[in-house]
């Protein structure tokens, strides 16, 4: 591995393992998605070198993947400023769905609000059974505006999606796998390793074929009649 401390923000690192890039969120206490941090996550993704064949996004903060938006900021900022913040959220999350290689979220801690928006933008979610996942926006009087309403419906169908979206309830990683919100379980403390191993497996396959399948799968409307 050639580890690179990502230069622009102390809370975002990029690790390079052969053809796999790992974007590590490391902004205690909760990896809150304030504007500079989110911009740095986006820049880290844009910085992965040519030849990268899979990207993992993980957290170095114990018991946290990412706990979502910067609520105190949203409580006080003016509306135009917040709308541009939500646009930034859409851009950064969307980049994980548009980059030309598979993206994997390694969820080994609380994954809430913007954290789940980011994870939903990845192609694959690996979770520990006990982590909490949810979109609590409705309980705050707002909505998930970063694309998660559309992404969760397309990922799991209307049935679990509307319950989760309207109630804001949190489910466990094990429940997330049951309903297809995540597709792989790993032991706590082993999630990032499992995600990196999976990324290495993907990286060993024909990159043009992987890219073509990834692009095709992302473009299908999966739950329509």
């Amino acid at each position: 591995m050639s580890g690179v401390a990502f230069g622009r923000h102390p809370g975002v690192h990029v690790g390079l393992y052969d053809a796999v890039a790992e974007i590590v969120m490391d902004s205690a206490p909760v990896n809150a998605f304030d504007r500079p941090f989110l911009e740095a996550v986006g820049e880290a993704l844009a910085s992965v070198p040519a030849g990268t064949r899979a990207v993992v996004v993980s957290s170095a903060v114990p018991r946290i993947f990412a706990a979502g938006g910067d609520i105190p900021y949203m409580a006080r900022a003016d509306l135009a400023d917040q709308v541009s913040y939500v646009e930034l959220c859409q851009q950064v999350y969307g980049a994980f769905e548009q980059v030309g290689v598979p993206t994997i979220a390694a969820v080994d801690g609380a994954c809430l609000g913007g954290g789940l928006e980011l994870a939903l933008s990845c192609d694959i979610r690996v979770v520990a059974p006990g982590v909490r996942l949810g979109l609590p926006e409705a309980t705050l009087g707002i909505l998930a505006g970063g694309g998660a309403i559309h992404r969760i419906v397309r990922a799991v169908g209307q049935a679990p999606a509307r319950d989760l979206l309207l109630s804001g309830r949190r489910i466990t990683g094990a429940e997330a796998v049951d309903i297809g919100l995540a597709s792989r379980l790993a032991e706590p403390g082993r999630v990032t390793t499992a995600a990196l191993e999976l990324a290495a497996e993907i990286a060993a396959a024909d990159p043009a074929a992987v890219a073509a399948v990834t692009r095709a799968a992302r473009s299908v409307l999966p739950v329509g009649p």
Binding site: I71, Q90, G145, G157, L166, P222
Partner: protein, 247 residues
Amino acid sequence: MQASTPDPRGVAPRPARDPVAVVELAAGSATDALTELVATLAALPPGTRAVLLRLPSDAAVDRPVDEDSVTAWQQALSAVEDLPLPTVALLADRCTGVAFDLALCCDVRVAPGTVVVRAPTPAAGALPVGGTVARLVRAVGQGVARDLLITGRTVEAPEALAWGLVTRLVPDPAAALELAASLAALSPEALAATKRLALGASQDSFAAGLAAELSLWRTVRAGANAQEGLSAFAEKRDPRFTGPDGR
């Protein structure tokens, strides 16, 4: 708290001007019951912020008999689905016939652990008209939906939960009411916007969907309830969201 009225359905006494409307499907033909249900929902008191729809275990299994009544079913079921309020379906031990059609129109489906679910399909002697085919596919995906629709198999609680035919198992009807009350306490405009976007997400283009999320985010955020919710979170207190009737 206002004076309580006894609840004829035996759930629990509910306060007058209750933000939760408890609605029960009438006995008799499915078409008549649907018509009555839509009339009830159209006349909900203005302070209503969530609906609990109680579905009977012996729901009528008759189907529309001509083109006009098919159209009437489509309109009735869409009216239930499009309500701009959170809707909770409380299933009985058995969910079939028009109860199945209606359950799929609701946002949350709760059922006892003893529940058995069966789609109205040719194998069950019925046609899934009124939008049920599309709703079932959108709810649970093609993988499960085509099996249920083609074979008419009965589904017990564990599978129903895993597939989303029910979204939660509850120990008793009171738990369903509690859930509906918790939804009724949230911001009505945030819920209405989220519901509209979620329903659209099965059919709109992703680009249009993102634009709609941003646009409705802005509209909802501009309201007093969003400010209350965010401020309460920042101040570590419980929010108090206001309904359209100012309560």
